[in-house]
């Protein structure tokens, strides 16, 4: 029997033609995946990694074409193949595990019907389909598979949906599985379990897996090999452990180094300037596309696509020669004085046994209304200049705490003090002052910024309120101060949010909150939607603001490493309660509550690597 790699890309260049302008979405991509092996494609959003997935599926818009190279599946070139022939492979020999498990299943069809549809296509006779589907659901450890088949997607959790989808993917015993960010939409603990399941099924059926992910640590842990993507190029490729341990390309290094760690010394994150160019900006970019952001670029980078260099066993990097020798200066430790310890002054925020209960939805015929405790007897203080982290999964009640602090909800019981005053009993002028001293930075900049206001109007919005109104030149001066403080380019004032990048939007969001010089910022998951290099920029900005303005921060996040980087104290929330609180280093080093432990264990870089031989 001839042995081909299951999948081999050989110098694939993908072009999108719009009139006379063509954009190279993928440039000269080559890699192979053998049976039973896992390749990780790593990069930030827009790097072109999902484009490879779409290329394999053949589901590309008609204006996209492969301009060069071959796409070999089991030795046969797929590029010239008809759509029908490609479709015949999909779901049978090539299976996909999608990114958003909850929306990847049709909401109006039961799990059983969708599974049966798939089995029907695989040629399973009608009467056997339910049994076979149930067997498969049992194989992915779903409880009560028969009952599961009768249910609809909205009745399942994200993790359960992903199990169903993994079961469907493996049910045809495919040679190749393409998993596109299969765990991104899930909670940390579920993420770990799903990855384990994927590996387990792979070991059982021996398929080749292409794992597309933004998480270098995750890729390093579960993959045999990784390829790092940047703006349509593969910049580095090699054995997973080697790439993570000794990355060569400046981009891979920054990708690794801009993620805060859960252990070891705390170092200032080296943040690359700017952001990866968007698809439309690729047209004018010849040569090395990373060069504009590269700390060690030189004239050679601008010419042609850099050649591959062998830097270790099977470890190759695509970079101009000059870069290869260069090294980043080692990152500085976070200076001691940077994170302030609570002082003697009164706390800017104090919560004493605060609860927030909602009346539950009433049943159809007056079934008793249960109250839902979104927040239950939470106590928390934030001192002046202190950064406090509030950690938990979605639905743990951490956003409700933010709403309570902001006065958007009234506590059902307990006491909430702002700078030592109870806002519920404060008189109007005091209340206004208290409210102004607490500002929020919202999670989703898309929703937090009025799309019809420009940056100037957004960052100085607070000056439209009576009592703060100033004349136009003063407002301009304020706007310039704010964009300088938050590191926005000087020419962005007349732009509207849709003309800004994700990181810039989040900076505007922060600038707006800083306008009336608050004492406390409440930041609710403000970096969760950002790519790691931009995340590092924003985190460093927050640290600088704390240092320069003495602002306190209540930082709400699900990401433990980010909380460790920013905050001196942490509170862990689980089902509306704070289950553990204390000094960040102490809590993360010696977690006492079981939930904190499972959170920490689920983080990819903190787990013992999955057996790669699998």
């Amino acid at each position: 029997m001839q042995t081909h790699p299951v999948l081999a890309l050989d110098g694939v260049t993908l072009q999108a033609g719009t009139g006379n302008k063509t954009i190279e979405l993928l440039r000269d991509i080559s890699f192979t995946v053998e049976r039973g092996r896992t390749l990780g494609l790593v990069g930030e959003s827009g790097a072109g990694k999902s484009m490879i997935g779409r290329l394999i599926s053949g589901l590309l818009p008609p204006s996209f074409q492969v301009a060069a190279g071959r796409l070999l599946f089991d030795g046969a070139d797929l590029t010239g193949q008809s759509a029908a022939a490609r479709r015949a492979l999909l779901g049978r020999r090539i299976a996909f595990v999608p990114q958003e498990p909850l929306s990847a299943l049709n909401p109006v069809l039961s799990i059983g019907r969708q599974f049966a549809e798939h089995l029907a296509r695989l040629g399973v006779p009608d009467r056997q389909r339910q049994d076979r589907a149930a067997e498969w659901l049992a194989a992915v450890h779903l409880p009560e598979p028969r009952a599961m088949l009768r249910r609809y997607p909205h009745e399942l959790s994200g993790g359960q949906c992903q199990r169903v989808l993994i079961a469907m993917a493996f049910s045809s015993e495919p040679s190749l599985i393409v998993a596109d960010e299969p765990t991104t939409a899930l909670d940390v603990i579920t993420q770990a379990r799903i990855m384990q399941l994927l590996k387990e099924q792979q070991a059982l059926h021996g398929a080749a897996v292409v794992l597309i992910t933004h998480d270098l640590h995750l890729a390093a842990q579960v993959c045999d090999e990784v390829g790092v993507m940047y703006a349509g190029d593969m910049v580095e490729r090699g054995p997973a452990s080697a790439v993570l341990r000794a990355p060569f390309h400046p981009y891979t290094r920054s990708l690794r180094n801009s993620v805060p760690a859960l252990d070891g010394p705390r170092r200032i994150l080296p943040a690359l300037p700017d952001q990866m160019p968007g698809v439309m900006a690729l047209a004018g970019l010849g040569g090395c596309r990373f060069a504009p952001r590269c700390p060690s670029r030189d004239t050679a980078c601008a010419g042609a696509l850099p050649p591959w260099h062998e830097v270790g066993p099977a470890h190759r990097v695509r970079c101009a020669d000059a870069c290869l020798g260069a090294d980043f200066p080692p990152a500085a430790d976070v200076p001691d004085g940077l994170i302030r310890l609570p002082s003697e002054a009164p706390a800017v925020l104090e919560l004493c046994d605060v609860s927030l209960h909602y009346a539950g939805r009433r049943g159809l015929f007056g079934r008793p209304a249960a109250t839902i405790a979104a927040v239950h007897e939470v106590s928390l203080t934030v001192g002046p200049g202190e950064f406090v982290g509030l950690v938990g999964e979605s639905g743990s009640g951490k956003s409700s705490v933010a709403r309570l602090v902001m006065g958007l909800e009234r506590p059902t019981s307990g006491r909430l003090l702002l700078e030592g005053h109870d806002p519920l009993t404060a008189d109007q002028p005091l209340l206004r002052a208290l409210r102004e001293h607490v500002q929020i930075v919202f999670q989703d900049p898309q929703s937090a910024l009025n799309p019809r206001r420009n940056v100037f109007s957004l960052v100085t919005q607070a000056l439209e309120v009576s009592g703060h109104r100033v004349d136009r030149p003063e407002r301009r001066r304020q706007a310039r101060r704010l964009i300088e403080e938050t590191g926005l380019p000087a020419d962005c004032l007349p732009r509207v949010p849709s003309q800004l990048s994700g990181g810039q939007k989040q900076r505007v969001n922060i600038a707006r909150a800083l306008c009336v010089t608050p004492r406390l910022l409440v930041a609710d998951e403000i970096v969760s939607g950002l790519d790691v290099s931009v995340q590092a920029q924003i985190l460093n900005l927050l640290l600088r603001l704390g240092r320069e303005l003495g602002i306190s921060l209540l930082f709400i996040s699900h990401d433990l490493a980010v909380v460790r980087y920013l905050c001196s104290r942490v509170a862990v929330m689980y089902r509306g309660r704070i289950v553990e609180t204390g000094d960040t280093e102490e809590v993360f080093a010696n977690p006492r509550h079981a939930y904190t432990r499972s959170l920490l264990e689920a983080v990819p870089s903190n787990r013992p690597p999955v057996d790669l031989a699998g």
Partner: protein, 284 residues
């Protein structure tokens, strides 16, 4: 704003505007354009066929009706009635509907409940039936037609704009404005109203088309602007009586009605896709 510029460049908007401008000119220049007084009866020339017919005469380019009135002149003057009613009724129902929608959608709670129930109650009347009832109650006349249409069609604006306001209200930037110390009124005017404006303008255009239909319908039944005001619906209703002898008498007002509605629909549809491509058709 770039949205408005791209709207003006959209083909549908241009054609719709063009048609509308022609209609407006016809209405404004009616005394100049019309060969006759639309009410003038020529007893000797009843049911004259149009000019291109062998028996037609150049004096009545589109022929005459059973009372010997010039059909072309009636159609020309009818555009005044149609456009007046369309513009006034659409303005009225937009103001009433959007005001209630903003209040209900922004305040929520009991106010919202009450307004929603009102809309539900109104929506359980077929619009034609309700406007007919109102005309019975109010009596004929241009002002009453406008009033009747406003009282029927405010619900269209209210229903759609309210759900839009609710979507906007949930956006964080509205909460942010409140947290910065904006008053309710200021929040509505600066943050919520601009978001609803494209929708309101689109609906305004479509509503003008609907007003033309309702006016024609009411005229047809004989409960509209009154006996001596030329109206397209009345012409069709009259023409129905002698459809075998003079089928042409109905064609001109039919084309007029169609052209007016088409102009408003093209304009509205074009604005909708240009101002907000994500706008769902189902909501209108």
């Amino acid at each position: 704003m770039s949205g408005w510029q791209s709207a003006l460049r959209a083909g549908k908007v241009q054609v719709g505007l063009g048609l509308l401008i022609i209609l407006l000119l016809v209405a404004l220049l009616a005394p100049v354009l019309a060969p006759h007084d639309p009410r003038e009866q020529d007893i000797l020339n009843t049911l004259t066929p149009p000019a291109w017919d062998a028996e037609g005469s150049a004096e009545y380019p589109m022929g005459t009706d059973s009372l010997g009135r010039c059909i072309l002149s009636q159609v020309i003057y009818g555009s005044r009635t149609a456009l007046t009613v369309a513009f006034a009724a659409a303005t009225g129902s937009m103001l009433l509907g959007c005001l209630l929608a903003l209040v209900a959608g922004y305040l929520g709670g009991k106010t919202d409940w009450l307004v929603t129930r009102m809309v539900d109650l109104w929506m359980s009347f077929p619009p034609v039936v309700l406007s007919l009832l109102l005309m019975v109650g109010l009596g004929t006349g241009v002002r009453n037609v406008v009033l009747a249409i406003v009282l029927v069609d405010w619900t269209r604006f209210c229903r759609v704009v309210r759900s839009d306001v609710i979507v906007t209200r949930r956006r964080d930037y509205v909460t942010a404005a409140r947290l910065l110390g904006f008053s309710h009124l200021r929040t509505i005017i600066r943050e919520i109203l601009p978001a609803a404006a494209p929708l309101m303008i689109t609906m305004f255009s479509l509503e003008m088309g609907i007003a033309v239909i309702v006016e024609a319908t009411l005229s047809f039944v004989g409960l509209s602007v009154g006996a001596d005001v030329p109206a397209w619906g009345v012409m069709i209703a009259d023409g129905r009586g002698y459809v075998h002898q003079a089928p042409w008498a109905m064609i001109a007002p039919m084309i007029a009605i169609f052209a007016a509605i088409l102009a408003f629909n093209l304009l509205g549809d074009g604005l909708r896709s240009a101002l907000d491509p994500r706008l769902r058709t189902s909501r209108i």
